[in-house]
Symmetry: D2
Subunit: 304 residues, 4 copies
């Protein structure tokens, strides 16, 4: 498959969408990003790499980090993760408290904010140096030791994070947070603040695409079955209330972030990361979604 | 892959579950079925067939027919289907009116009852002889001309179908049903009343597993892309509020019915149908779910 | 208190509101009413009557009949009414199914549609000739034997009454309707179709204002305590999701109807009926609400 | 009316209920209260006082303070209060976030926690010394300068107040809180921590029963119309999701607190306070509710 040629075609085809949508602007650091950027990078199991556009520009991975958190939590406590949250799609917006109240503090899945806040609580309880170990895991996965948190972004998000604070308080009320609420929120926002480029992100997601190789990054180890199940969660829950749409149009497991990034995997073939800051009204990258739709359409490759 | 051997192992391994759950009993015809039955049949793209247990006993396919309805509707009006309903998982029980009211009469997806009732309305409007043509399509897909409706079941379900009648009335209120409510409900229940065996059902689903062959059964024709997209909908919406669980444990697109049947596909490999009447509290077959979980675990084959 | 003078002042003061709001138009018979009408009539315990405007023009009482239905049901089965429904304000629109589903088919109170449909079911079960006896009761209360149903309106409402049919089906699903759904709906719409003038309606409501006299109209008899409790229900539930607003601005127990009528009582003093077809977005008469607010403000009389 | 005799009869009649229900125990200070206490005090407009039981024992007024907060807020900003919250009954539990999210941070009414937290924000913004001035107002209303906060209770409630913190964060998210969240919560819990006896509370509520006298307590002044409207809010919203039940059984405007107190008014006649710590499952005092029901039944006096 000539992926480079396909990427170039996609690049032309998505032009009409380049001014659609609006970037996230609820904190200054995200609002300051030039919205008119686009990067994409495919990383195959044979270690071929195909990149285009601003594939080396780092951006805030935001909710994409929820996949790393799930991998880390499953490596530590395995299926006990599901004692604290479900694995069903939410059917509502990513930050809704309604479902959380109806279901008495049990988040629908690990990829909505409530679930990720509980995962932050798990990591805080189980790791000796959560901040360092989490970063070490991400550096190991992406093969790049310069990856880091953007603490300014993390602090800025915390100061505006009223809805996440409401979620954390409700989780605490229902005894689904063990640590201090403030500690959990700060660690949660820190994990969201990680900055990676498409090239680094596709490399990091390669391990999810390739369950034939051992998933082993420092102290984080998963079985092939666990890797496949993380993909399954991405498939059903990776795009908030647009998971069905993404599954329908793209047909790959993936996870989006409000920074405009999307990481996806085609199991046993490749991983791919795409980035463009302008978001649709569901909070997913307009050009990112379109590029991935075109990718699986043109290659006629999808999990279905 | 020695599927026959694997099926035999599965058959032993699911024994401990054989008395778990309860069959549907809301109408006499379903309540009268012997609950202690189990059948399974795999149909590969090479046309190898592996069967075990009561694989030739016919049962009420019930909601599995929603997949056939979607295929039929897409062949007639294509993506216009999505003007009438969404393609997102519902996050709530299959027959909830809450979501339908909040979303003003637009069903979440085609595989909840509200969506299937709208599809019944579409078929009634578009087909000259809906009852005959629908059956002809199913007979063509399953390669068996003796397949038929069980009209006693259909009438019995209609007479007890208060919740579906509530749904149909609400759809009508929001102008999402064109035909007479009673006609739509009767046709909807008729499509649910079709009886097929695991062998017939796996044969019928083969066309969803094999998008490389033309999908063409009488007047029903779909593109490869459409077939894949129907699989995507099965993946995210096929098991009501247990879609995530099935995706996690089994990792195949599929659809369950309250009669105890489940049909699933492993794209480009095989289709599979399993049947056992006892249901879990989500309305899905206990042994059917377990058998499929063991199948993808033992074969180490899943879409992820 | 010079009520006639006060009514005249009110008549002047409400002029600025005379073109605000829109009359109900979901059935032709209601849409055909001249919207620019206003009538009001006060009936005191001393039998003084003060009328103004189109106080003798009959209109469709619609939901005001729910008060008569509650009186009838309580006279037959007393507090057993509350085994079938609650007496709490609904906090949502009058025809919402959401609450009904969450609360498993138990209507919030007798003055939302679901509650009134259950009351229609009770009357159908308990009365020998429900249609005749209900009318006889209303004629007795209003002291006028020419009051009648408008069967054209009833039939027209039934034919468009999809949401009420959805409600009735859900009630049946939860075993909160004993009779045939269609019979219940037809009787429900019949009770709504009664036509009365402000003069007749205020006379009919006098018995709710005066619990010192025996409440006895043919076979319908209530204790003083029951009368007061019906007033309490009117106070908290009489105006759908505007009950608090009416209580705040007017301070009297009352009940509104989509035909533009409002009946209210000032216990131990008077009853009052007002009518004007233009409705606000909550479904209550704009000028009717305003007139009653002015009435209690100018007289400085309210239950608080 | 011989109220003393009636109180004595009530005292006998409520005996069978004396072990029903459970006191609030979510903080140690409330859990430590002897649950088997009962006090009641009626204060008439003629200044006759009728007391029985532990009418001079102080208890935590908790949510009853919401009435004082509303009075204070209305005296400062009048009907602008309703720009920040509604005046409709909530139809759900006092601390639900569901409605608050659906209605985008606008509390249903001032007597649910969300509304009272917004009122705390208003008072913090408008008063120079909120803590002192609020207490001064309560001392003035109850004619007793020894009334005070229980700061231990306030601190204890704050430390456990995860749900209220969730509410406050959601209000802030929707821009319905101006001050620092923590300041608002602390002041809110402080106002709840006020301790008063039935005698003091009935005296304080006398001003709500008597709108003919000027409502003037230090800098807090209300018109007769405002007093009556506060009563209207108590009537429709004073008992969380049991407002209809209280209105039905008792027929007086009132407000309950989780400390087991209830204050109510019979306009133009008397105010009454009752206290007994054991609560029903709606959070209202079992014996308190029963005593007030008997009071209006035996006296045959209610607003209806």
């Amino acid at each position: 498959m000539n992926y480079q040629k396909i990427l170039e075609n996609i690049y032309l085809d998505i032009r009409p969408y380049e001014k659609m949508g609006r970037q996230a602007d609820y904190i200054p650091a995200l609002a300051a990003v030039n919205p008119d950027q686009f990067g994409i990078c495919i990383h195959t199991l044979r270690n071929d790499i195909y990149a285009l556009g601003q594939a080396d520009t780092r951006f805030s991975v935001q909710s994409i980090s929820k996949v790393f958190s799930l991998a880390y939590c499953m490596s530590i406590i395995g299926d006990d993760v599901w004692k604290r949250m479900g694995k069903e799609p939410s059917g509502t917006a990513f930050n809704s408290l309604i479902q959380l109240e109806i279901e008495k503090g049990r988040p629908r899945n690990p990829f909505i904010n409530a679930g990720a806040i509980v995962m932050a609580d798990i990591l805080l309880s189980r790791l000796d140096n959560p901040k360092e170990q989490y970063l070490r895991f991400l550096r190991s996965m992406s093969g790049n030791d310069t990856i880091g948190y953007n603490e300014t972004v993390a602090i800025s998000e915390r100061s505006q994070g009223y809805l996440n604070a409401a979620i954390a308080n409700m989780l605490k009320y229902y005894h689904n947070i063990d640590n201090d609420i403030e500690d959990v929120l700060q660690f949660y926002f820190l994990t969201c603040s990680v900055e990676m480029s498409c090239r680094e992100l596709s490399r990091a997601f390669l391990a999810f695409a390739d369950h034939h190789k051992p998933f082993s990054f420092g102290d984080v180890r998963l079985t092939a079955s666990q890797v496949k199940r993380i993909n399954a969660i991405m498939q059903t829950c990776g795009f908030y209330d647009e998971a069905g749409e993404f599954s329908y149009l793209v047909g790959l497991p993936g996870k989006s972030g409000v920074g405009g990034g999307i990481a996806a995997v085609y199991p046993s073939r490749y991983s791919v990361a795409v980035w463009s800051p302008r978001l649709n009204d569901k909070g997913n990258s307009v050009m990112g979604m379109k590029a991935l739709e075109l990718l699986t359409t043109e290659t006629e490759e999808s999990i279905f």
